[in-house]
């Protein structure tokens, strides 16, 4: 137990007859989502007494999934949201996953206000497990084509790591969480440890064969996802079983069929006996000790009582999700760091980016009408890795986009009539033509003007400054979107799809729910916040491993990379802690 001077908190604790062991831990993890859950698991497994602070309520696997086994007719509005709910929540209502059966896992607009200096739809899940309950479960590894992006193309700063630094951690994470996919042998998208892939269906495969025979650098693969198609003993040992293809994931899954903190990493951490999970704990700042030039602990406001308290630890992992992590660091001011913890560079809160999801394409296909799909595909269909500007710069825009392609046949009834004919038609639907869908996932560039700052005048109900978000698209994004629409439309037409409609949506950044950056990794403490180990350059016992750490965003769904970086950073942090006094 470390010595520290007797102060107010000590007196308060004495008065309340509390023991230091209630307030002192080996490690603190801020956030229990996809990154925080991994930090908790890795720290606890290594024997560290770990306090996991979650600002929202507890959600225990299965027990706290109230809607998970309900049929559509058991919902008063058949899973649509009432008009009043949509009116009160214009922001979160734009999210595809916000429905009557899932709304209890989403932050409502008026619960946690923020300031849009530029339009930004900030989608959040404030509960134990965070957005790991709600994520789309798509997982792809980064390659060096991604890590080398900033250096090659002259934006942001060079990543201080490459694929070889993270490869074994991708292996480690995939084996634990369970990922389905094929080893496709593509340089642009490294293979991994996969369970049986969810296959492309007959039309997706048809599209693939035609496209791959025409374009040597364009590949259509089974989407890789964190679903258990064939669980190993590792997942069975977590109490999870094979995914049952329900596609009701955002309700929470009683089978543990997809990866979430709730079904996997948190119970695993709890089993070690080293985890203390404290929900309703809003971290307002990290406490910096001027004397030791290290973080001492965190200030927490209890979300329900508004009581303030300090927790102390030797090691702090900040996994509060990108914008909240930026907020906490910016709000952690001290004499040494008047503009935020670790902000000697002035970079903190700058150079954020997101994924351009602003366009999609629909089409129809009249072939293969002697086939249909049976059951549901949790992977969603096909994935096309980035094919633009991979080996060299070739287009008017920098970087590129990945995309999806999925095909299905709807059941349709003729509903023009009324009476007996209508009833018969509804009882005997026929299969419509194949419908094809695709959407863009474009890499946006982290601009200095994409910022998160703190309001100087407005605070939330816990006394923490409201966050101000100023993030927007630019000309690079518009050119890229145009290229996606042109290229995919051309590919669809080539293959023989009809009624091709490309649509560019007028949507603000944020609905991608992939905002990243603000505390970027880099070689140089003068233009980055974190070093190659996700460690604050300025403060050796604080690590940031959620989306805030990302120097660039590439085209991959980012959660797998967050998990791998977290596991890697914990391993380093604990080894360093044992070697030296971090």
């Amino acid at each position: 137990m470390s010595w520290y001077p007797v102060g107010t908190m000590d007196i308060i604790r004495l008065l309340h007859n509390m023991r230091d062991k209630d307030y002192i831990y080996d490690a603190i993890v801020i956030g229990s989502g996809i990154s925080g859950g991994w930090a908790a698991k890795e720290l606890c497994e290594r024997g560290l007494k770990t306090l996991v602070l979650e600002r929202g309520r507890d959600v225990t696997h299965i027990k706290d999934y109230p809607t998970t086994n309900m049929y559509p007719y058991e919902f008063a509005h058949r899973m649509e949201l009432p008009y009043a709910v949509k009116q009160e929540n214009p922001i979160v209502s734009r999210c595809y996953a916000f429905r009557e059966d899932t709304e209890h896992f989403f932050v409502k607009d008026n619960e946690h206000p923020y300031i849009q200096d530029k339009p930004f739809d900030w989608i959040r899940g404030y509960q134990v497990g965070g957005k790991s309950l709600l994520w789309a479960r798509q997982t792809q590894r980064w390659s060096d084509y991604d890590f080398e992006g900033p250096a090659r193309d002259g934006f942001a700063v060079d990543w201080p790591i490459r694929y070889r630094d993270i490869q074994s951690w991708y292996d480690y994470v995939e084996k634990f969480i369970g990922v389905s996919g094929n080893n496709d042998g593509l340089e642009i998208l490294p293979d991994g440890y996969f369970q049986k892939a969810y296959p492309l269906n007959i039309v997706e495969q048809f599209f693939r064969e035609k496209i791959e025979s025409r374009y040597s650098d364009r590949h259509v693969i089974s989407a890789r996802c964190a679903h258990l198609s064939n669980p190993t003993d590792v997942q069975l040992g977590q109490g999870r079983v094979q995914c049952q293809n329900r596609k009701l994931c955002e309700r929470g899954c009683p089978f543990g069929g997809y990866f979430s903190s709730n079904s996997s990493t948190l119970p695993y951490a709890a089993k070690t006996g080293n985890m203390t999970l404290r929900p309703h704990s809003v971290v307002s700042s990290i406490i910096f000790d001027e004397a030791t030039q290290k973080a001492k602990g965190v200030m927490v406001v209890d979300a329900q009582t508004n009581e303030s308290m300090e927790y102390h630890a030797k090691l702090i992992f900040v996994c509060a999700s990108t914008i909240n992590t930026n907020l906490i660091l910016l709000n952690s001011t001290s004499r040494t760091y008047p503009t935020g913890l670790g902000n000697s560079s002035g970079i903190l809160g700058r150079y954020l980016a997101f994924h351009n999801y602003s366009a999609n394409i629909r089409a129809e296909y009249e072939g293969h009408l002697d086939y249909r799909t049976d059951g549901k595909n949790p992977a969603g269909g096909g994935y096309i890795p980035r094919f633009r500007n991979v080996k060299k710069q070739e287009t008017a825009f920098l970087r590129g986009y990945a995309t999806t392609v999925n095909a299905s046949r709807p059941e349709v009834s003729d509903t023009k009539g009324i009476g007996d004919h209508l009833r018969e038609s509804l009882l005997n639907p026929r299969l419509g033509n194949w419908r094809i869908g695709s959407h863009i996932m474009g890499e946006t560039l982290p601009k200095e003007s994409n910022t998160v700052t703190l309001s100087e005048t407005q605070k939330d109900r816990w006394g923490i400054p409201l966050v101000r978000i100023a993030i927007d698209y630019d000309e690079n994004d518009r050119l890229m979107t145009r290229d996606y629409c042109d290229q995919m439309s051309e590919m669809f037409a080539y293959v023989g799809f009809k009624n091709i409609e490309a649509k560019v949506k007028d949507q603000a950044p944020g609905l991608d729910i992939h905002e990243m950056g603000g505390a970027r990794m880099g070689h140089d403490p003068k233009d980055s916040v974190l070093n190659k180990w996700n460690q604050l350059h300025d403060c050796k016992n604080v690590f940031v491993t959620d989306g805030a750490c990302m120097t660039s965003v590439s085209t991959q769904n980012p959660s797998l990379t967050f998990m791998a970086l977290t596991a890697r950073a914990v391993d380093y942090a604990v080894r360093e802690m044992k070697k030296f006094d971090l």
């Binding site: 109230p66 809607t67 086994n69 309900m70 049929y71 559509p72 007719y73 919902f75 008063a76 509005h77 058949r78 649509e80 949201l81 009432p82 008009y83 009043a84 709910v85 009557e100 059966d101 709304e103 209890h104 969810y198 296959p199 492309l200 269906n201 007959i202 997706e204 495969q205 049952q244 293809n245 329900r246 002697d370 086939y371 249909r372 799909t373 049976d374 059951g375 549901k376 595909n377 949790p378 509903t415 009539g417 009324i418 009476g419 007996d420 209508l422 009833r423 018969e424 509804l426 009882l427 299969l431």
Partner: protein, 158 residues
């Protein structure tokens, strides 16, 4: 939120107090449902309580502007019926109601533009209520809560 109970309209007060707008809509939905989607094929439609679902959706899932159009549509329809049949829609014979509904279904705006609008929404919700009923989804197996499979190459045998 998942447990918002359906809002059920009140029954007619036999002392002659005029009905509320929503009560009138409920009467219309009840009359129209039997014509749009009658019992048959072994199904007793009354058992499905589709009217309750329709009313819940009309009351909860439409904007106040659309709801105003519902009330105007109901009034326009009754105005037409009183003018041409000397009775409100509710008191017409089943045959007469069916004639009207057939015309509403073809979007005949002589009956009133908003009446056509009201009918189109009511019909859509009747269809939804039927397709998403427990009878069709669970008993007749049209919806699988737990498919447990995916086959992307399912050959249809004619």
């Amino acid at each position: 939120m998942a447990f918002i109970p359906p809002l059920v309209a009140l029954q007619l007060n036999s002392c002659g107090v005029s009905k509320s707008d929503w009560e009138l809509i409920h009467d219309f939905v009840r009359d129209v449902r039997e014509i749009v989607l009658p019992s048959g094929d072994g199904i007793v439609m009354e058992h499905l309580h589709i009217e309750n679902f329709v009313m819940t959706m009309l009351r909860d899932c439409f904007s106040p502007e659309d709801q105003k159009r519902f009330f105007e549509g109901q009034q326009a329809l009754n105005t037409y019926c009183r003018k041409n049949y000397r009775n409100s829609f509710e008191t017409l014979s089943k045959e007469q109601q069916k004639e009207i509904v057939l015309r509403l279904n073809t979007k005949d705006e002589d009956l009133g533009k908003e009446a056509v609008f009201l009918f189109s929404k009511v019909k859509a919700k009747i269809i939804q209520g039927f397709q998403q009923s427990e009878l069709l989804m669970k008993d007749m197996g049209k919806y699988e809560l737990v498919p447990g499979r995916y086959n992307g190459y399912y050959k249809i045998i004619a």
